[in-house]
Amino acid sequence: MKVRVDSERCQGHTLCAMIAPEIFELRDVDGHSCVVQEDVPADQEAQVIEAVNSCPERAISVD
């Protein structure tokens, strides 16, 4: 599973990093999200799916 954050859509709600802190990192300056680990380890997949389904801006996608 690969995960990406659409930086045009992300508005810094920070939910993804609360749910999957090992995968998403928030920039110090504005709290917008970036992916630290594009390839999602199997034991993180459930959290990443939850992050996808929790993002208020629908900015996270997986394939």
Binding site: Q11, G12, H13, T14, M18, D28, D30, P56, E57, R58
Partner: protein
């Protein structure tokens, strides 16, 4: 355009609903009204306040809120553009002629403000303040812990957000009393009453203090949000003074009453559900985040925002005309059963909680990280130090209406008394001011990264 293409107003506005967010009935029948609108008219035209659209459905609110190219926040106070009236429907009497800062602006100017202020308000920036927040909460609880009685609004939830907001702005924290009452009272006081005159007078006093602080900091800079706004350039130019003051008013308005409202409602619910309270305390490591988001969703402290359609367009299946007013209901979007199973039930462990309580799109609440952090730090200390508290339902006072803020005025509670742990509030505020000044805590995170140290 051919005759066949003409969409009449009656066609466009065939979904009609009498919607008055300022009526007490909207508070009293919120769930029934929400369900009815979701079922019949997730976007409706209402005749109230000169006529405007109301978006209640989650998908509709989401799509409209994300369409900043066709949906404007502009408040054109001086009539220099298209006369749009910002985010309040109707425009408020008090504050006519002043703007709500960058929340009543469109890009690109709005973006300059947010980029300037984000480094003071990001999660990394707020984490630096946690030891200060904890001390303020500790002192508030110490003031009451021996008596076994507290009013969670007056003695805690009104205090900490106000003191912290001033500290972040660069205003002496001890001056919180100048700001606190007018900000809260302005939200819940009925217009045209003697009380409203008193509140208006306090509001003016606060305004004078704020402008005084702005000039003082402009001449003798000290770190904080005011300093940043005093130095801001929009495309190389200093913005009008009114816009700068509007931004300061926005920070105060956003920072005070909202977090208070969230905290009071959550504490009230936890008192009514003591088993859930014990569970939240016990399982805080896994539940605190989801419970916070759930309280945000369910109580939606800022229930909605107005907009103006800035181009003829079709969004979410409705044809809009330039100049029409629109109300985006974050609160109703948060109860949409197609997105939130059992939307009218609080589930502390709720997953996939895509709530819109901080707004959606480019105007997302810039203080959301402050709100969450302050809420969590207050809640945790209450759970630890007053675990058996019971709110008195007779004494609890909710705002009569939820048109602006879904808030509370009073929330008295009793609990088993405990021991004080340290100094009282005034002395603690003084000490925290020294910490703030000496460690330059109000600098942006780009300048100062370390967390506050308290001896």
């Amino acid at each position: 355009m051919g005759a066949d293409d003409v969409v009449t107003d009656d066609d466009r506005k065939q979904n009609r609903y009498h919607f008055d967010r300022h009526a007490p009935e909207y508070r009293g029948r919120f769930e029934a009204i929400t369900e009815e609108m979701h079922e019949k008219c997730p976007i409706a035209w209402t005749e109230t306040y000169g006529g405007h659209w109301v978006a209640a459905g989650n998908r509709e609110v989401f799509e409209l809120a994300r369409s900043a190219d066709r949906v404007s926040n502009d408040h054109d106070v001086k009539g220099e553009r298209r006369g749009y009236q910002g985010i309040s429907i109707p425009p408020p009497e008090r504050g006519k002629g002043s703007t709500g800062g960058f929340l009543e602006m469109d890009p690109p100017a709005q973006r300059y403000y947010r980029q300037a202020l984000n480094p003071y308000l990001s999660p990394a920036a707020i984490n630096r303040w946690i030891p200060v927040i904890d001390e303020l909460v500790r002192a508030c609880l110490d003031e009451k812990i021996e008596s076994g009685r507290i009013d969670f609004v007056d003695d805690l939830a009104n205090v900490v957000p106000a003191v912290l907001t001033l500290g972040m702005m660069g205003i002496p924290m001890k001056d919180w009393v100048v700001y606190n009452e007018p900000v809260h009272a302005a939200v819940y006081t009925r217009p045209n009453t003697p009380e409203a005159e008193r509140v208006a007078e306090m509001h003016k006093e606060m305004g004078r203090h704020l402008v005084g602080q702005f000039f003082e900091i402009q001449q003798n800079p000290r770190p904080g949000l005011i300093d940043e706004i005093a130095r801001i350039k929009i495309d190389g130019e200093t913005p009008p003074f009114e816009d700068q003051v509007g931004a300061l008013g926005l920070i105060i308005g956003g920072g005070f009453d909202t977090t208070t409202a969230l905290t009071a409602h959550a504490l009230e619910w936890l008192s009514e559900n003591p088993e859930e309270r014990a569970r939240l305390s016990r399982e805080r490591d896994t539940l605190l985040n989801s419970a916070t988001e759930e309280f945000l969703r369910f109580y939606t402290p800022a229930p909605g925002d107005g907009r103006t359609i800035s181009a003829d367009c079709e969004i979410a299946g409705t044809a809009f005309r330039e100049g029409e007013r629109l109300w985006l209901s974050w609160a109703m979007a948060n109860r949409d059963a197609t997105v939130f199973p059992e939307p009218n039930t609080i589930d502390l462990a709720r997953k996939n909680n895509r709530h819109s309580s901080f707004g959606i799109g480019i105007h997302r609440c810039i203080g959301s990280n402050v709100a969450r952090t302050v809420f969590k730090r207050m809640l945790l200390q209450v759970l630890d130090r007053m675990p058996d508290y019971r709110c008195d339902p007779e004494g609890a006072v909710h705002y009569d209406t939820i048109g602006v803020i879904n808030g509370m005025r009073k929330l008295p509670a009793t609990f088993t008394p405990g021991e004080r742990l340290g100094a009282g509030l005034d002395e603690t505020i003084e000490r925290m001011q020294r910490v703030c000044d000496e460690q330059r805590l109000a600098e942006p995170v780009t300048v100062r990264k370390a967390q506050a140290k308290i001896d």
